[in-house]
Amino acid sequence: MAQPVVQTIHRDPSLFYWILVPITVVMILTGILRHYAMILLQSAPKKQGVKDIRQTRSLMRGVNLRNNASVLTRPSFESRKNYLVPAYQDGTFLAEPEKRGQPRANPMSDPAAMEGMMGMMKNQVVMMVPQTLIMGWINAFFSGFVILKLPFPLTPQFKSMLQSGVGTRDLDVRWVSSLSFYFLCLFGLQPVYNFILGSNNSASQVSQQMAQMNPGAGITAMDPNQDPDKLFLSEAENLEVTELRSILEGIEGRILEQLR
């Protein structure tokens, strides 16, 4: 049986010193730079006024009452319900009661919302600019170089991933081109940043993009784009239909059964 021919390419050792090492070092340094740039650009979260805090937390109180109503006896639940439901319906807790019923202002004209969008834009720029620059740099100086050989065989499907920039059809997949090495670094350096900068760094752009993809991951008590009055009204309705089943009902029997 014929053994597959092992391709041997004699690489100049200076390829290692002048391409592989510089790309790696530059990538790591860019990550660190990005981390500090993000810290610099981060604006402190806007302080909520007393009334905004009251609005959010009063709504949470209603949610708590609905979820944990079972710890109460009936009279105490009723008294709370009778207080909260009319208050919600009348908009007692609203931060801006005079704006009740008016349609929400266009987010574009609201300076606070604009600020948030600007912050997002800034992050995007910090992410995109270095990435573009480095890719351009690699393309200009190192395109077409084969700089390392993987120690394990791979199927031909990896060819496009590992040999971008090298248009040789018969080259073994194990050879990696400089541009592909850049991509490997881009996606694989997170542990290195974790080691250097601590675990919650903002050096890697991959994790940033992940976070942007599902913004619902962080639990927000109140979406700023929603009308608080509507939220209060729907919560009032929820409270109205809440059925109380007190956990204290028949507890003596449960205890006696459990511990006897």
Binding site: I32, Y36, K47, Q48, G49, V50, I53, R54, R57, S58, M60, R61, N64, L65, N68, A69, S70, V71, L72, T73, R74, P75, S76, I196, L197, G198, S246, I247, L248, E249, I251, E252, G253, R254, I255, L256, Q258, L259, R260
Partner: protein
Amino acid sequence: MSTELLNPSSSGRPETALRISQQAPDVLKRTAKTSLPFPLSVLFSSEKQETWVELENLLVACLRTGDDKSARLCLDRLTSRFGEQNERILALRGLYEEAIAQDGKAVNAILTTYYDNLLAEDPTNMPIRKRRIALLKSMSKTGDAIAGLVELLVTSPIDAESWAELADLYFSQNLFPQAIYCLEEVLLIVPNAWNMHARLGEVLFLSAESNSNARDAALKDLSNSLKRFCRSIELCDNYLRAFYGLKMVSSKLISLLEVETKTVSKDKTGELSVPDKATVESLNELATSKLVEILRKGSSGEHGWDGYEDAELVAIQALLDQTSQKVER
């Protein structure tokens, strides 16, 4: 590293605080600023969150034990890290100033100049608001403290800590219905806190004691109290206070139910029913046997049962002696 330092020390016993504050020189030395020269410090900034938690707890422990110098060092470290304007730092600084104040006048000055000014600048500064209320409480201006807390709770009605504090203040003024309301609010936020269930049971019990003339109301409060203690036991099997309370309440209820055998029917408002006498009696027996077990195992220091304090065990002993005397008579 000791884990003791990472837990909030304010709730600990005095011995714990003393032990922590004795570690002060070591901790201060260990956490001393060892920053690398500039280019390396950019590359390798290893800052642990635990460091700052430790320093804060150490600060509180030092203040408790009177080691003001170490406290000052901790405060300086924290300030240099987080800046003068950080809310928490401001509160800690207030705490320090209170501790080194010489007399009542100085404390009053802190209240009016430091805290009130800060709050005028930023009324959303919760740590400072709480600190101010705590100071009012320790100056025994209970009325002002209650007013401050009510105002705080209007802004932030989902703060369990404040509700619990308000309940305590009302309780100290014998305003039982208000205290009960506050404790119920606490339970709405943390529904499985067994200590709060037991506490509510205690307040209900005392409320029943206070209006023992109105039999129906007392009966209602007592049966509610009984249920609260039961719930507390359901959540935590070996909770001493709940068993103690259960025993007290059930003895009281038995005597009340004996006076009048007329069964109290479930009334129209749909309130919880008063348990019948047999159930209460068996609950009483249960509590007694559990208390005896705790007393036996706790005082012999059996493994897993050594968390009870001596004072608590003595109290059980006293309660058990008292009831057994009654039986003999």
